[in-house]
Symmetry: C3
Subunit: 308 residues, 3 copies
């Protein structure tokens, strides 16, 4: 595997391989000196054309723990203001001998386009409404740490603004590939217009779905969406789909609560819920480093020097 552009690049088998590899890297991250020399001499560049603290730092941490060199540039501080084209930028970066580029971009398909131009490995760190594959992988990894490999029949409810969510898209693909049953929950205006072929059920009523849910996956509400006609007010949204303490009483006692972060406390999720014992939100973040180590290692590792 050369790139990670979307979940389809992996399939169920590839996902399984990433998750097993992440197990061993999770063990590395818990050591006193949480580093291995696996990618010494490799260089990973973060190209973030959209703000992100958590994803950028997670990838950088992962790369450093593999002993890779890291460099970063964000849209603000680079030649992009000079009107340098994306093509020129990535060709330049590649010509310098960079081994992998981690890209976030607000336009869907940008990582794919870059992968067509150059020989370095491309990791999609989120492109428009399209995909965010490492998020889905770390989510699957987090579930697997709690439930083992038994994804078959697991009932996952993904709640929120599915229409504009790359996290939802990647998770639907990954979780259904692994055998889980995904239900999308939200107001009709926030569902994707064309759901044919998606291996999912749809519900507009969270309260009905909760009692049979094993995993409640709460999406982040983008406050800026409120400008749009199709979005209910935050208050109205919170009343119908916000995950409150009262609502949680309907969720089975052994269910898990997930969120890709950062949470809007009081909007899609109550502060108390984020701290509920069933919440694995902080684990998701911690697992993100191990999963990204696994992805970078799969793309750049020679197979020798393996995490020892």
């Amino acid at each position: 595997m050369k790139h990670l552009l979307g979940i389809d690049d992996l399939g169920a088998e590839g996902i399984g391989e990433v998750l097993r590899l992440a197990d061993s890297f999770l063990e590395v991250t818990r050591r006193d000196i949480p580093k291995v020399p696996a990618l010494r001499g490799k260089t990973v560049v973060s190209m973030f054309y959209e703000d992100s603290t958590r994803t950028r730092l997670s990838f950088e941490t992962a790369a450093k723990r593999l002993s890779a060199d890291t460099m970063t540039f964000s849209a603000g501080s680079s030649s992009l203001r000079k009107g340098e084209s994306l093509l020129d930028t990535v060709r330049t970066v590649e010509a310098m001998g960079i081994d992998a580029i981690v890209v976030r971009h607000k336009s869907s398909g940008v990582p794919q386009r870059i992968a067509g131009w150059i020989d370095a490995s491309i990791v999609n760190a989120g492109d428009g409404w399209h995909e965010h594959p490492t998020q889905a992988l770390l989510d699957a990894f987090t579930l697997r740490r709690h439930r083992g490999d038994s994804f078959a029949g697991m009932k996952v409810a993904i709640v929120g603004d599915v229409k504009h969510s790359r996290v939802a898209r990647s998770n639907v693909k990954a979780l259904s590939a692994l055998g889980a049953e995904v239900t999308l929950v939200g107001p009709p205006t926030l569902m994707p217009p064309n759901l044919e072929g998606w291996p999912v059920k749809i519900s507009y009523d969270l309260d009905v779905v909760l009692p049979t849910t094993d995993v409640l996956y709460v999406l982040r509400i983008q406050r800026e969406r409120q400008q749009e006609a199709l979005f209910p007010s935050l208050r109205e949204y919170a009343a119908r789909y916000g995950v409150t303490s009262e609502r949680l009483a309907r969720l089975p006692a052994d269910a898990l609560i997930m969120h890709p972060g950062p949470t809007n406390r009081g909007v899609e999720i109550d502060a108390l819920v984020a701290d509920d014992p069933r919440s694995v939100i902080n684990e998701q973040v911690a697992n993100g480093v191990a999963v990204r180590m696994a992805v970078l290692y799969m793309l750049l590792g020679s197979g020798e020097g393996r995490a020892a």
Copy 2:
């Protein structure tokens, strides 16, 4: 010790420990290869919500010389624009396995609040008008390099806008804990409103204070304060409190001149004064790296692997 939030966390004994440790790290920084493996595998993140070249680079240099990995984010290039809460940000950073966060924030008390939320070590790199403890430690270290441990009875005059100065607050605490006698000098409008309990003398007349001063500590004037009614004009300020060559004639020949930088030459200090043989301003900067190495080592070092 887990955090360094303010000078009171240390007390006289803790300050002494930092200073002695900094001695050995100062020796490290003068080696041909000025690095020790003391913090290999540790990760230090700089979270600067306020601009700072010198403090950020000084901490990064210190961390790298201890072989720690470093990452940085500033308010502009992060998810902060997304409205991510401080709580979410630091929890995320911690969940990734970061060992220490170096925080600068324009609001007093932010480092303390963060320390209450998470398990990673927090270093206060300046919070509002409150404290800037590593500055006071490097100042004390610089004095100790020149005067030895005899702080008792040392007469220190801190001159300028004491009211808005976290550097002054931390220095008053550190220097008086070590036994020095501190006099605050400046116009009444730039003195803190409530000085009860501060172990200091006050003077509004620099010329009177100078002849009996061992250490002249000149604070930086924030030009933006001029907008405020309580601030005299820069010209008026410079006339009464600016450290000019003429004024320096009153300062004993063996006194020391200090400034936390960057200087406003021609305002609080004349260009010639900054270059006076009694000035130790550049030493302060150099010592800052050794002192920050000592602080990071005290917070994160296991006690084994010690600077060898």
Copy 3:
């Protein structure tokens, strides 16, 4: 040699030394683990007061491949907003024990001024319209990889806005020192006002020059120049000096096409031309890392620990 401020610091002999050293570093960059410990423990800071992706990343890559520590600050995220003077900034950086500062600044002469103030090594990464010496060195290195040491009599045409080009200035000096014959080509308004003493020929007609050109060096057009009266419209410029496929038919089959990047495709160079087999534009970028390794090594390397 302590600084690299301009090509004159090197002379023909120094240029030759950089190019020979770069040969061995180019070999390093092609290894599986493209790193050498030559500058372990040295710290290189990038101070970029002007946007640049490629130059900053190229220097950082070079420094990391020599095992130096790197730090970066750009005008936006530093104390520069506080009105800190350049003098204070560089003195601070030096006092921290930094070994080299790589400077880009929009004003000519800034690197020279800094070199006069401090003891650290200064590398000019582009100053105003003045010089960009590492660009000229990587260009010479690229030519040498194709043509060997036989610069004598090599006919180089530098085409474009020579007046505002630091790349042109540095290349004229380097190439003529090595024995090449340089012709500057462009509209009279974009020629430097005073060319006396420059070892060059001038032409206003690219089509006349092309058939006898060994190396066609195309400068980047700065679109913002269009505001100025002396600049023709982009369309007019492209018609007379744009390097199109038709125009290329006049260029000898064994000529080389160079560009410092990033290209404005469709303005000074057609997309197809940039991909012409005679184009060595991507090689220039790749060679840039090896040449910058050579420069940093010459300035900071002890002579021991040499690339092994």
